[in-house]
């Protein structure tokens, strides 16, 4: 099938308006939210914007006939290269499938299309006293389909869990174009939990065309506290003691001084500019539970050396404190033109030594590193600040990243808490997984997608898939001027 024939067929499925193929139109799809340099960019042959499950299925079947890879894409806010078409082929952009089909208040569920924006789902059900709990920083832009693919988290997943805990079933298009609904574990269900396998599979197993999601009842009472500390060490000890004392806040976030320097002048959230670190702690639940737990957390923070404590009980005060945290990444532009964001996760009790190691890496590589992260989960987000226009800076960032990842793994940590592996961290998988572990993961991929049709060259390092030889052959073909044989 030559390129023109392919484009004609795609237009037949989704209409002329639903196909992008000019180089200028494809440029934006060469990227996701990752740092250019840490993740290779790649151009697809075409981008299609379907509006129905049937269209997605037809596109996938066509890709099978043309022997082209298929990469599903939501808002493109991912941070690990997952939505980049590494081997070219067809990008299926699901942003036009953005309907909330049904909300059921008895079941506390919503049936949504994959292009629904995370925050818009929560806003849409707010008046019913419900919300969609996963709340990644990109929630104003990212889509539910993308959340499913990456198993996204967010500040409130400390208490409420990550995306996988909120997905009850998925309509998916399989690599042969078949459409099925998956279920999850439930009383009386005699079948495999395909939903569990699909969430977090980074678009490599199936394309989500509908999701049945759980809606969480809004808590009756919520209090947010800001605790300011004179050292990072005191702040991280406070985190450990809050958790160890039996408290489970809704969220427990940390920001260091460098972050405060960026955020406070921009958003005036009320963070003390001279604090070495602040903790943003949210407690929610039954009013009596919240009141007692807030008093206890206040005491624990003071015992750990907190210099000041501030409480926000009204929605307006809470929103202001949160604004600084949620806009922290955007505020980094005040410090440097570029940043590289990591996502390693360590056991909570190893936070103090890991933060020390981050500081040492910062000094050694002469890089500014800001820390703004989900401390309660041990999920670090070191932001390495740089200017890509300076020769050698990207290389220096990558060297520092290598040291950081090794250090986190040394203390029992893992590569990614919520951003995914994609292409960015694929090369590090052998640090934490054995050959057998990777073969088991490859086996699961091959059960879903024996021809490596969906999102090839992601997550699993080269050499573990049976189909890889076939794929190398395909790649060689594709290099011939975008013309691929049937």
């Amino acid at each position: 099938m030559d390129r023109q024939h392919l484009l004609d067929e795609l237009e037949r499925i989704v209409g002329r308006d639903g196909v992008r193929h000019r180089p200028v139109d494809l440029l934006v799809y060469e990227y996701d939210g990752s740092v250019d340099g840490a993740v290779d960019t790649a151009a697809p042959t075409a981008v299609v914007l379907p509006q129905s499950t049937e269209q997605v299925s037809a596109i996938v079947k066509l890709a099978g006939r043309a022997n082209l890879p298929v990469v599903a894409r939501g808002a493109g806010t991912g941070l690990s290269g997952g939505a980049v078409a590494q081997r070219g082929g067809i990008i299926v952009s699901l942003t036009r499938m953005d309907r909330v089909i049904d909300v059921n208040l008895v079941d506390r569920t919503a049936l949504v299309e994959p292009g629904v924006i995370n925050l818009e789902l929560s806003d849409g059900v707010k008046d019913h006293g419900l919300f969609f709990a996963p709340d990644p920083s990109s929630q104003k832009a990212c889509t539910i389909g993308g959340n499913v693919a990456e198993n996204s988290g967010g500040p409130h997943c400390l208490k409420y869990g990550v995306t996988t805990n909120h997905i009850l079933g998925l309509e998916i298009v399989l690599p042969d174009g078949e459409v099925i609904w998956t279920r999850t574990a439930q009383d009386g269900y005699g079948g495999l939990d395909l939903t569990a396998a699909l969430v977090g599979s980074e678009g490599m197993f199936g394309i989500v065309t509908k999701a049945l999601v759980k809606l969480t009842p809004s808590p009756v009472a919520t209090t947010v506290m800001l605790a300011a500390f004179g050292s990072l060490e005191d702040a991280s000890h406070a985190v450990t003691s809050i958790i160890a004392a039996g408290n489970l806040p809704a969220s427990l976030e940390m920001m260091d001084n460098l972050t405060i320097q960026a955020v406070e002048p921009a958003y005036h959230a009320g963070y003390p500019m001279d604090a070495a670190a602040v903790l943003l702690i949210e407690s929610d639940g039954h009013p009596v539970e919240v009141s007692e737990s807030v008093d206890e957390i206040d005491l624990l923070c003071r015992q750990a050396g907190a210099r000041s404590m501030r409480r926000a009980d009204t929605a307006g005060e809470r929103d202001l404190l949160w604004k600084g945290r949620k806009m922290a990444l955007a505020a980094m532009g005040r410090l440097a033109p570029n940043y590289y964001l990591h996502d390693t996760v360590v056991p909570r009790s190893r936070l103090p030594e890991t933060l020390e190691a981050v500081e040492a890496i910062s000094r050694y590589h002469k890089l500014q590193i800001a820390n703004v992260f989900h401390a309660g989960d041990g999920n670090l987000h070191p932001l390495m600040l740089f200017d890509r226009r300076n020769p050698g800076e990207v290389e220096r960032i990558l060297e520092a990243s290598h040291d950081l990842i090794h250090e986190c793994v040394r203390v029992g940590g893992m590569l990614s808490g919520e951003h995914g592996i994609g292409t960015e961290k694929r090369g590090y998988m052998t640090l934490v997984f054995s050959e057998n572990d990777l073969r088991a993961m490859a086996g699961l991929k091959e059960a879903f997608d024996p021809d490596q049709r969906f999102n090839p060259e992601k997550v699993i390092p080269t050499g573990y898939m049976c189909g890889e030889v076939k794929q190398l052959h395909l790649q060689a073909m594709q290099q011939e001027h975008g013309i691929v044989p049937v």
């Binding site: 269900y189 939990d193 539970e289 951003h419 572990d437």
Partner: protein, 405 residues
């Protein structure tokens, strides 16, 4: 073939109706792997088991087979209270785990039948979740990693010992509820939680099932912090049980607010009495040798109609039912193995299918299994599930013929 056999006998009845010719009890994951490889090479089938609590939930098969007893894989691998994480070998009982966690003021927030027999590996494999799933989630939500041996003998792990992790595919949660058809779980890593400081229950009696389910819905809608809420219907009557856990002041306040909704006679249970009440509730609806047990699942919006129809069938034969309205879950227990009970079990299974619900026949005599499929209707995506089975267990060594796969 390596001789792994530690205990061997002609025929060993694991539970009534499930016999094996040979049992091994490995004391290491590598031993499990060796044994499964050998079973594959000898074209044998293997039934893995822990506390034997769920072995009867299976299709009957005549295949010659070996048993693998995971009871040799016991003990805590790693437990760091400050991290709220635990790694434990699969044959460890849930009661033993809760004891260790309890010493540090922590727990697994799950309510499961017979915790002194039930092993953690068995629980992951069967995917059972009790009424606390309403707020605290199931073991699926607590699972952060595991080690397993596939049906082809490959010994591997997935996940880790951190509470949030997207490094690699989600094999641990995928194995949850896979009934030992893909792999034998040899150890599991779990999130644990602080033990609630107080525990309370409001128990209210009702004249009819519909009113009790209606109140359950109101309670769940009024208070998102409610830990569990079930309605039981048995020969003694209809009872609603609503549970609150947390700090003492909050639990008292919640039970008070539940009581405001109760229009009928109600009593309150606190601390150990509350815990014991819920333990007996889950035990009563678990698989056992002398009764028929069915688990039904549907959408919460459809559960009331399903439960009322099922009640009409089980009432005349002295059966009982536990409904979790907000979870869409109905558990049925029918006494003995009489012809009437068998007929009622069959009628309830068929009712579930007709109403678009799912069911699993957890415990039943041969007469019922002969006319009602153990695992309900084949699930959507069964071909994909079989494709996964072929990848994990190409020679169909694990639980051949016993499962839905």
């Amino acid at each position: 073939m390596v001789n792994h056999t530690l205990r061997s006998m002609n025929v060993l009845e694991l539970v009534p109706g499930v016999s094996v010719e040979q049992v091994v009890r490995p004391d290491s994951s590598a031993g499990v792997s060796d044994f499964i490889r050998d079973a594959g090479a000898a074209s044998q089938t293997v039934i893995p088991f822990g506390g034997r609590r769920s072995l009867a939930t299976a299709n009957e098969t005549e295949t010659a087979r070996w048993g693998i007893d995971l009871g040799g894989l016991v003990g805590i691998v790693a437990y760091e209270p400050a991290d709220l994480t635990l790694s434990v070998r699969a044959g460890t009982t849930v009661a033993a785990i809760q004891r260790v966690l309890g010493e540090a003021g922590q727990e697994l927030p799950i309510d499961i039948p017979f915790p002194h027999q039930t092993t953690i590996g068995g629980l992951v494999a069967t995917g059972f979740a009790g009424p606390r799933r309403l707020r605290s989630g199931s073991l699926r939500d607590l699972l952060i990693g595991c080690e397993f041996v596939r049906g082809d003998g490959l010994l591997a792990k997935a996940g880790g010992m951190v509470v949030k992790n997207v490094s690699g595919f989600e094999i641990p949660r995928f194995l949850h509820g896979s009934w030992g058809g893909l792999a034998v779980i040899t150890s599991v890593n779990l999130k644990v939680t602080p033990m609630p400081r107080a525990d309370g229950t409001l128990r209210a009696m009702f004249d009819d099932l519909g009113s009790a389910i209606d109140m359950a819905r109101k309670l769940v809608a009024a208070d998102p912090s409610i830990e569990a809420c079930v309605v039981t219907s048995d020969p003694e009557g209809v009872t609603l049980s609503a549970r609150a856990v947390g700090r003492a002041g909050a639990v008292t306040a919640m039970i008070d607010s539940f009581a405001i909704h109760a229009t009928t006679s109600a009593d309150r249970l606190a601390s150990a009495a509350s815990r014991d009440h819920w333990q007996s509730l889950v035990d009563r609806y678990a698989e056992n040798d002398s009764s028929i047990v069915l688990a039904l699942g549907t959408r919460p919006r459809d559960v009331e109609a399903l439960a009322i129809e099922a009640e009409a069938i089980l009432g005349p034969v002295g059966g009982s039912m536990q409904v979790s309205p907000a979870l869409g879950s109905v558990r049925i227990a029918l006494p003995g193995n009489s012809g009437q009970s068998v007929e009622a079990g069959r009628a309830i299974g068929r009712l579930a299918v007709e109403r678009g619900a799912v069911y699993v026949l957890e415990s039943a005599p041969a007469a019922l299994r002969a006319t009602l499929a153990t695992w309900g209707e084949p699930p959507e995506g069964i071909e994909l599930m079989r494709s996964v089975k072929r990848q994990f267990d190409p020679a169909d060594v694990l639980n051949r013929g016993r499962l839905f796969l």
